[in-house]
């Protein structure tokens, strides 16, 4: 990133290749709209280009890029006054696509159920679990992104996992 900051823009291509998938995964976990996620990934790199002079180089680049990703996501949904759909019929529709599959697809169904449970979490809890996943559970770095202590991050993860487990169990009973 330091080279990009110094004007070697070709190096941004390397950063793009390295981070496009984790960023896409983070956005996909947050909103489940692949086309929108591509727009948001593009916006992240647009901001990096625009504000590259602000990169201080004293911290982890991955932390910085996820900090930007989080802002891009918040800005987007604030702009369109987006409201999360919490419609049970929607879950049933999604799951019904998988109902006829045999037991060999059981694992895939569990993943589908987990994805649904994740979608039903409040945004802040969904976000902390996705950051934990894509930041490889580096809680101090996640604290830098969120502006809180490492201990506070661990408690947030604890509460989010607890709620995820509860929602998952409820979904299991429903379907």
């Amino acid at each position: 990133m330091s080279k990009v900051k110094d004007g070697d823009l070709d190096k941004l291509g390397l950063l793009f290749e390295r981070y496009k998938k984790p960023l896409f995964g983070f956005f996909y976990g947050m909103n489940k709209d692949a086309a929108l996620c591509e727009d948001l990934v593009q916006n992240v790199f647009l901001r990096i280009l625009k504000y590259r002079y602000l990169f201080r180089g004293d911290g982890d680049f991955k932390t910085w890029i996820f900090h930007i990703a989080r802002n891009v996501n918040h800005d987007h949904f604030r702009k369109i006054k987006w409201k999360w759909k919490d419609d049970l019929d929607l879950w049933k529709d999604r799951l019904s696509n998988h109902e006829n599959r045999d037991t060999e697809f059981r694992q895939e169904e569990e993943m589908q159920m987990l994805s649904m449970a994740l979608e039903r979490l409040p945004e802040d809890k969904r976000e902390i679990l996705l950051l934990s996943k894509y930041q490889d559970k580096k809680y101090r770095e996640i604290g830098d992104i969120l502006g809180c202590t490492e201990g506070a991050v661990k408690v947030k993860v604890f509460r989010a996992l607890q709620e995820l487990k509860e929602v998952y169990k409820k979904l299991e009973k429903q379907f």
């Binding site: 070709d10 591509e38 990934v41 993943m111 661990k154 996992l161 995820l164």
Partner: protein, 260 residues
């Protein structure tokens, strides 16, 4: 706090028998770092699933848009001729080029004052300059940065008649360059040479090697313009592979309809 007491709290939580007060106490222990999240076995299954959860891959469209944005930004930052000439990082190669030009000038001066006919001297000088330019283009295409490779491809378009070496280098760039914009520029630069059957064959073979939707569509348009029926098989392979996005498949199908 005793280790036994802490372990009992963790066990209560893992077996789902904890009270609200136990849970709050556990949270405090986690916050202070005394208890690790990994000790909470009740989360093992869901946490592991979360880590293994796969997400779809972004499409090639994202790559195309990003590299287009990057090349636009680079074009905006393209320095002026004077800045390039006087910048210290660039001054070495420029100085070398200027020296070569000076030597060529001296040679030209020598020949102009010698007894050989003037037409022959000018022709010889032009050939040397063309050779020098060709060498520079080939070197940039092979080892240059993205900007230099783009410049090299653009320089070939200024040539009245490029040599086989240059067309081969352009074909290689079209097939192998990592940057979509450079590949697209190479395709444009090859258009004046489509009357050469070897170039046409290479373009048909290039269809199967392209992953970028933009290049695939440009090739499809060119093949239609050339009425190159031998391209149909290559296009069919792309459709059958199932890797191409829907818009590309549609465009290729239309092109096949025109060609057959």
């Amino acid at each position: 706090m005793e280790q036994k007491y802490i372990q009992r709290l963790i066990d209560l939580y893992n077996t789902g028998q904890e009270s609200e007060a136990d849970r709050q106490e556990l949270e405090q222990l986690i916050e202070s770092g005394i208890v690790s999240l990994q000790d909470i076995k009740a989360f093992d299954a869901v946490d592991q699933q979360l880590m293994e959860m796969k997400t779809p891959e972004p499409s090639k469209n994202l790559d195309a848009r990003f590299y287009e944005m990057l090349s636009q930004e680079k074009r905006k930052r393209e320095p002026t001729f004077l800045k390039i000439f006087f910048s210290w990082r660039e001054v070495g190669p420029k100085l070398a080029l200027a020296s070569v030009a000076l030597v060529l000038g001296l040679i030209a001066g020598y020949f102009l004052h010698s007894s050989t006919p003037p037409d022959h001297q000018v022709e010889s000088l032009s050939r040397q300059v063309a050779d020098l330019r060709e060498m520079m283009i080939l070197s940039w295409l092979e080892k240059g940065s993205t900007t230099e490779r783009l410049k090299a491809v653009n320089l070939t378009q200024e040539m009245t008649n490029a040599s086989v070496k240059v067309t081969n280098a352009l074909i290689q760039t079209l097939n192998e360059d990592e940057n979509v914009n450079v590949r697209l520029a190479a395709l444009d630069a090859l258009k004046p040479y489509v009357s050469d059957s070897l170039v046409r064959e290479a373009l048909v073979r290039a269809i199967g090697k392209q992953q970028s939707p933009l290049v695939q569509i440009s090739l499809a348009e060119l093949m239609v313009a050339l009425q190159e029926k031998s391209a149909v098989k290559e296009f069919e392979k792309i459709i059958e592979s199932g890797r191409a996005p829907a818009e590309v498949k549609k465009k290729i199908s239309e092109s096949i309809q025109v060609l057959i």
